[in-house]
């Protein structure tokens, strides 16, 4: 790399050397000096600072940039260096400096070749609305051909003008219109943060823009609540769907249901551990691998429980309740002994991280995938009960055990398989829940009450009831939460369910016919 900037060289080098002082205010000065220097090394230095690739040697006061491929250069001169000195440590940042870095990078990347980067740069200028970026923005706006980027640039320019004290009234009014059209929370933040000494015309425009953004956002917040409700409903459904089989179809009060969920989550953890140590490239597929394994692990444990404990207790609900509750404690402590009491880290694969904007609401990928996943499981389960031989046998046994037995169905085998199926599905739920909750021995406990609530509310013995019940509770909860708060919201839901059960003891979708009396 060759560059010549003799006039600035001295001050640029001085600025870079300040990074070595390990003092936040010196680093701050260095960032603005380097960003303003116009030196071609400014961009590599500041982006390295952001990614902790900028290191400094406290003894020699030399600063180094480690490239993404491990190549090291001297930050002040650009000369290549063999390797980092022993005692070089990354330059430390705090939040204030990270904001300064983002703002500096924003103006440095406005002319980047990648449109996505240009948009990101424009957004960070919008947030910081630094006057110094105005010239670059004007320049970039004139050259820009991409429509989306152009809009982002115009918004950033409007933000700067709004805050510029010597901008004309016309400029400011135009800026308000642009920001109003943007219409999201950031626009709102920008307008509310404006100093109050605006010309009366501008102040009026700002007030009306704020009112229009506000009403727009209020409408979107309804949509958002509905989405959150669907998402919470899908989690409830996922946790309850296994119970809908063991409790709903078989009538076994299985207090260890939550622990099946936990076993599924720990299976995911083990799968990810193996992948991390052996095949790091497969990490994005870890959940796909974990799903069948979790089904098998939890299902096998379920069959063991049915064969070992529950089959001796059919028709004795109190004893079943106590036995399975004891079992849940045993399973929890076993996992605690094997994996330790602390949370285990289950990572999100890249396709489940982050979010996207739909209108004015944020939809996170993990919630979206969980919703799809839950519905898929529900459909598969429904199809299985309706169209397979095992499903037919299950329905037969639950409807009339003695009749089924006399038709040649091995009822005890079907019992074991049904219980295994319910447990296995709980295990699959554990895989999904490991993405949004703690993987700890207590994971299952937090879902057991909710699961029973959903199954009872929806109507025991009816999968559709469970589906409708889960989504009703989820949506009701999310519409109550902003009004009443999380704690009161939950209490209100419980009270509503109690009242509902008084009125309809058999839940939303009550089974009719002889099976009910049996």
């Amino acid at each position: 790399m060759t560059f010549t900037a003799p006039a600035l060289a001295g001050s640029f080098e001085d600025a870079v050397a300040k990074f070595a002082n390990d003092d936040f205010s010196d680093t701050d000065e260095a960032i603005s000096a380097v960003a303003a220097s116009g030196n071609p090394l400014a961009f590599p230095i500041i982006s390295a600072l952001k990614e902790e690739r900028l290191s400094a040697d406290p003894d020699t006061k030399k600063v180094f940039v480690t490239g993404t491929y491990g190549k090291v250069i001297d930050a002040a001169t650009g000369a290549a260096v063999d390797k980092l000195p022993e005692n070089a440590a990354p330059v430390r940042l705090n939040n204030r400096l990270r904001r300064a870095v983002d703002a500096a990078l924003g103006s440095l990347t406005l002319l980047s070749t990648d449109p996505a980067k240009r948009i990101a740069a424009a957004q960070s200028v919008f947030k910081s609305h630094e006057e110094s970026a105005l010239a670059v923005i004007d320049d970039a706006l004139a050259k820009e051909t991409n429509k989306a980027v152009k809009a982002a640039f115009a918004e950033a320019r409007a933000a700067i003008l709004l805050y510029k004290s010597d901008a004309t009234e016309v400029e400011k009014l135009e800026a308000v219109a642009i920001v109003k059209a943007k219409g999201d929370q950031e626009a709102m933040a920008l307008l509310t943060g404006l100093p109050s000494d605006q010309p009366p015309n501008v102040a009026r425009a700002v007030t009306s823009a704020m009112a229009s953004i506000q009403s727009n956002l209020a409408m979107w917040s309804m949509v958002q609540n509905a989405w959150y409700g669907l998402s919470l409903g899908s989690v409830l459904l996922l946790a309850a769907i296994g119970l809908a089989i063991t409790f709903g179809v078989m009538g076994v009060i299985n207090m260890a249901h939550g622990e099946m969920v936990m076993l599924g989550a720990y299976t995911t953890f083990v799968v990810q551990e193996v992948i991390r140590t052996r095949y790091p490239g497969l990490f994005d597929y870890s959940l796909l691998i974990a799903v069948p394994l979790a089904f098998l692990v939890a299902g096998a444990v379920g069959v063991l429980i049915e064969r070992g404990i529950i089959r001796f207790l059919y028709g004795r609900p109190l004893e079943t309740l106590l036995a399975t509750w004891g079992l849940s404690l045993v399973l929890q402590q076993a996992v605690r002994t094997a994996f330790g009491p602390t949370n285990r880290e289950v990572g999100n694969p890249s396709w489940m991280s982050g979010a996207f904007e739909l209108g004015q609401i944020t939809i996170t990928y993990n919630r979206l995938w969980i919703l799809c996943f839950t519905l898929a499981i529900f459909v598969i389960l429904l199809a299985m009960l309706r169209y397979t031989a095992l499903g037919l046998e299950m329905r037969a046994v639950t409807q009339n055990r003695r009749m089924a037995a006399s038709m040649g169905i091995a009822t005890s085998r079907v019992d074991a398989l049904t219980f295994g199926l319910g447990s296995g599905i709980a295990g699959i739920a554990g895989v999904a829940l490991s993405q949004i909750d703690n993987v700890s021995p207590n994971l299952g406990q937090s879902y057991i009450i909710d699961s029973f609530m959903v199954v009872v509310f929806g109507g025991v013995g009816n999968l559709w009831g469970t589906l409708v019940g889960a989504f009703t509770l989820g949506i009701a909860n999310k519409f109550l939460e902003p009004v009443a708060g999380a704690v009161l919201g939950k209490i209100a839901i419980l009270v509503l369910i109690i009242l509902f059960i008084q009125k309809r003891p058999r839940g939303l979708f009550a089974l009719k016919g002889r099976a009910v009396e049996a």
């Binding site: 430390r92 609540n225 703690n438 937090s446 999380a486």
Partner: protein
């Protein structure tokens, strides 16, 4: 067997029988004498199962480790220390039962234990009645000073108030979200913080207070609310007293909804190295925690302690955290007090403890105060990508723990003083023992 023995005795000469009996009696005497001399018992009252096992198991290991180290140095008063570990199973009434068992049955000289405030409140009457000593190692809401309890964790003025000061001065925060789990510690802390913020001129509409149930896992609405609250054009920060388990989904939701620490920083009082061990910390870069100790603090004492701890647990990745350091300090103070009065008698040790000093792991010396709290430094750390904290700010010196908050109307005139006044809630206005809140 028995017949053979009687036969032996019968055939034994009278003299030999006498000698044998004497030998036996002597043997018994030396045996029981040795037993009485053998050990000083130390009770460990931390949950090893149930919800709180996640946090408390480490503290049990810490005490075992400290006892081991002390015994290598020859024990205390020439006797070895012996740990008596019980499991109160995260069950608050069981804490009281197990405490009683430790004191009356096992006759321990001191107990190290409890995590949640409700467990501490549940054992208090037992320690008072049986006059024993409890060392409590966790940051808590204050508003308490008991003769039998020594509080080695932070009082609100040693954690919450300095953290808010930092945000106000360094980050210029103007709007505040106080988010907590719905129980006594967050509620009292938030009450104190609210009063403090208002005294600093923050308006009611710039404070949002939010409580969630234990183990809350669906944070979508609350995170969206925080985002909305933060878009009012003023710098916003979240002060989180969210309890251990609910933190992971909370931080995951923050990361997923794209709230970065540079926009809305979250400062947490219950998230330490141990809790971060269960999360991918890359999206959390820059969020803050306030503690009196961080594993990343570079002092010779701390490096030595971490090395010894990792060797003891045979796990080179085992992290250390703030409540562990509190136990380290508390344990050393107790040893020093016992050695000072040359006795483990609770009354003598309780009187000896105030004024005792012990080195903390961050390069200072903590002192036990007359109100049974200790002096500690306060650090603000930012979460780094490797799950550790980078200290970005610290108090210039040590901060003395206030048993009674100066911010609350009901407690600002109260002090705890077990040396001069012999009273935990002495009212300096009326000069009487026994104020509100006792």
């Amino acid at each position: 067997m028995l017949t053979r023995l009687t036969h032996d005795i019968a055939t034994m000469s009278r003299r030999r029988w006498l000698a044998a009996t004497a030998g036996l009696v002597l043997g018994l005497a030396t045996f029981s004498g040795a037993k009485a001399q053998e050990t000083i018992k130390v009770g460990v009252l931390h949950s090893l199962s149930g919800t709180m096992a996640i946090s408390e198991t480490t503290l049990k290991d810490t005490i075992l480790f400290l006892i081991d180290e002390q015994n290598k140095k020859g024990g205390v008063l020439g006797k070895k220390l012996e740990a008596v570990v019980v499991d109160p199973a995260s069950n608050w009434p069981l804490f009281a039962e197990k405490a009683r068992e430790l004191i009356t049955k096992d006759k321990v000289s001191v107990v190290f234990g409890c995590w949640t405030s409700v467990s501490r409140k549940s054992v208090l009457p037992v320690f008072k009645e049986l006059n024993s000593i409890l060392f409590y190692p966790v940051q808590y809401e204050g508003e308490e000073s008991e003769r039998n309890v020594f509080y080695t964790g932070a009082a609100p003025n040693q954690q919450a108030i300095p953290a808010v000061d930092y945000l106000m001065k360094d980050e210029k925060v103007k709007r505040w979200v106080l988010a907590g789990t719905d129980y006594v510690y967050p509620r009292t802390t938030n009450k104190i913080l609210e009063a403090y913020l208002k005294s600093k001129g923050v308006k009611q509409e710039d404070i949002m207070i939010n409580y969630t149930p234990f183990g809350h896992s669906d944070w979508q609405t609350i995170v969206a609310d925080i985002k909305k609250f933060g878009s009012a054009g003023k710098k916003t920060a979240v002060v989180s007293t969210i309890n251990g388990d609910a933190n992971v989904p909370f931080y995951k939701e923050l990361g997923n909804q794209g709230i970065k620490a540079t926009d809305i920083p979250v400062v947490a009082f219950s998230v330490g190295e141990e809790e971060l061990a269960g999360i991918d910390t890359k999206p959390l870069l820059g969020h803050l925690a306030a503690w009196n100790y961080f594993q990343s603090i570079k002092t010779p004492e701390n490096e030595k302690f971490i090395k010894a701890w990792q060797a003891y647990t045979k796990n080179p990745k085992r992290v250390t955290n703030d409540p562990m350091e509190a136990h380290v300090i508390g344990f050393e103070m107790w040893v020093k007090a016992v050695e000072k009065v040359k006795s483990t008698d609770p009354d003598k040790v309780i009187d000896a403890l105030p004024g005792i000093e012990a080195k903390n792991l961050t390069g200072g010396t903590s002192k036990m105060l007359p109100n049974h709290h200790i002096t500690k430094p306060v650090f603000i750390g930012e979460i780094k990508a490797n799950g550790q904290f980078d200290v970005v700010w610290k108090t210039p010196g040590l901060v003395a723990g206030d048993a009674w908050s100066k911010e609350l109307e009901g407690s600002k005139d109260l002090i705890g003083d077990w040396v001069g006044k012999k009273c935990g809630n002495y009212n300096t206005k009326t000069n009487k023992c026994g104020g509100q809140g006792s």
